[in-house]
Amino acid sequence: MTQIDPNGDSTVERQLALTVQALAESEAKFRAIADSMPQMVWSTRPDGFHDYYNARWYEFTGVPEGSTDGEGWNGMFHPEDQDRAFALWRRCLDTGEPYEIEYRLRRHDGVYRWTLGRARPIRNEAGEITRWFGTCTDIDDLKRSDQAKELLSQELSHRIKNIFAVVSALIALSARQHPEAKAFATAVRTRINALARAHEFVRPHTESSRPTVGTMTLHAFLTDLFKAYSELSGTPRVMVTGDDATFDDQAATSVALLFHELATNAAKYGALSVEGGRVTLETRRMDDRFVLTWTETGGPRVEGVPVQTGFGTSLATLSVEGQLGGRLERRWVPQGLQVVADLPATALSRRRAAQNVA
C-alpha cells in the first residue's frame, strides 16, 4: 500500500490520509463489536464468497482461520442439511432476499448443534449488493425442548385415545354380565366411540406443534364419522359441503354428539334407514355466525313432529345450545327432516378465540 504522508502539502493527500485512518478505525470498531457478540458473525462478497468470520465462529467450529473461506462453510453443515442450505443460499444471492434457515452445524467436538443462520445484503446507492452480513445462532437447546414437547404431546394423545378404547370395552364387558342392559350399553358405546373419533380431529393447542392444519378439521371428522353409513361401494350417503373449520377440545364433544345423534336417528327412522335416502350437510360461515344445515331426502315421508322427544334429541339440543351457545332448529318437512344449528363463529374454537383477544 502506498505510504501517504499526512504532513504532506497536498490537501487531497491529507484528506486521503484522514479517510484511510477513519476506515481503519471503523474496521477496528467493527471487529471489536463482531468479536464481542455471542453469535457467530460472517460476511461474504456479493458473489457469496465468505471472506470474514468472527472469533465465535472459529471458537465454535474449531477450524483453522481461513479454512472455511469461499464455500468451505457448507462442509461444516450436517450432510442432510448441506444441499438444502446451499440451494437456499444460492437463491438468496440471486434474488437479494434475506437469508434465514435452520440447520445442524458441526461443533469442534464433532457434535452437530441446531443453528439458526440469517443474513442480509448491503446495497450501494445504485441498489447493487456490495456485501452480505450474516449470523449463526445456536438454537439446539430450544429445538430439543420443542421436540421433547412434541413427543410428550403425541404420547398424551395416544393415551387419551387408548382410554376411550378401554372405557368402551369396559361397558361392553359389563353389559355381558347384564344382558337386559345390552341396548343401553350399545347406545352408550356408540356415543363414546363418536367422542373418541372427534378427539382425534381436534387441533392441538400449541400452534407450533403442527405447522399445517391438514386433516384436523371439521369436514375431515364428519367424513370419518359418516363412513359407517356409506353404501357398500364406499359411496358416501352423507354429503358434506361448504366452509371447513377447525375445532378445539371444548367443542369436540358437542360436535361428536350432535352429528352422532342426527346420523343414528336418520339410520333408525329417516333418510339413512332406506337404500335411496341421502343427507346433505352444508356448513357455512356467515359474518359472525357458523351455520350447519342437515337435510334428509329420499327417506320415509315425515308425518309431522314426533310426539315424544327421544333422549338423543335432547342431548343434541343440550350440546348446541348449552355447550356451544348456539340455536338448534328442527323442521319436520314431509320430504325429510331438516336441522339447522346456528352457532357463534367462535363456538368451535373458543380457546383460540380467547387467546387472540388476550
Binding site: K161, F164, A165, A169, A172, T190, I192, N193, S233
Partner: protein, 135 residues
C-alpha cells in the same frame, strides 16, 4: 367360515371384549397375547389364519414390524387395530389394512369377514368403509 384368530393387544379389557365378539361370531380365538415375542411364539407353534394386531404393545411400538413378519413370513392374514392409524399411513407390506379403535362389533365383524374372504381367495367387491386398506 370359522377361523383361527390371534389377538395381539396389551390392554387386557380391550382384548377380552374382542375375544368375546369373535367367539360370538363363531371363530376360534387361539390366544390373546400382549407383546411381539409371545405373538411370534404362538404363530410358530399353532396354525393361525388371522391376526388382529395393535401397534403399541407391552414391549413398545413393535406391532408394525410384527404384523409385517406375520404377514410376509408366516402366512397369517393381518389386520391392524389401533387408536393411531396415522402410524401405518403408508401401509405395511404383507398386511391387509387398519381399523381405528375404538371399534364396534359390527365393524370388526365386517373387517374379519372381508379378511377371511380374501384369504380364501373368494372374490371380494368392497371392503367395509371402516377398514382402511393398504395398497
Amino acid at each position: 367360515m370359522t377361523a383361527r384368530i390371534l389377538i395381539i393387544e396389551d390392554e387386557a379389557l380391550v382384548a377380552m371384549e374382542l375375544r368375546f365378539v369373535l367367539e360370538d361370531l363363531g371363530h376360534d380365538v387361539v390366544a390373546t397375547v400382549a407383546d411381539a415375542r409371545s405373538a411370534r411364539e404362538v404363530a410358530r407353534e399353532t396354525d393361525v389364519d388371522l391376526a388382529l394386531v395393535d401397534i403399541h404393545l407391552s414391549d413398545g411400538p413393535t406391532g408394525v414390524a410384527l404384523g409385517r413378519e406375520l404377514g410376509q413370513d408366516l402366512g397369517v392374514s393381518v389386520l391392524f387395530m389401533t387408536a393411531n392409524p396415522g402410524m401405518v399411513r403408508n401401509g405395511v407390506a404383507g398386511t391387509i389394512g387398519v381399523l381405528s379403535k375404538p371399534t364396534d362389533e359390527y365393524a370388526v365383524q365386517k373387517a374379519v369377514d372381508y379378511a377371511l374372504r380374501r384369504r380364501s381367495g373368494a372374490p371380494v367387491l368392497y371392503a367395509p368403509p371402516e377398514l382402511q386398506l393398504f395398497g
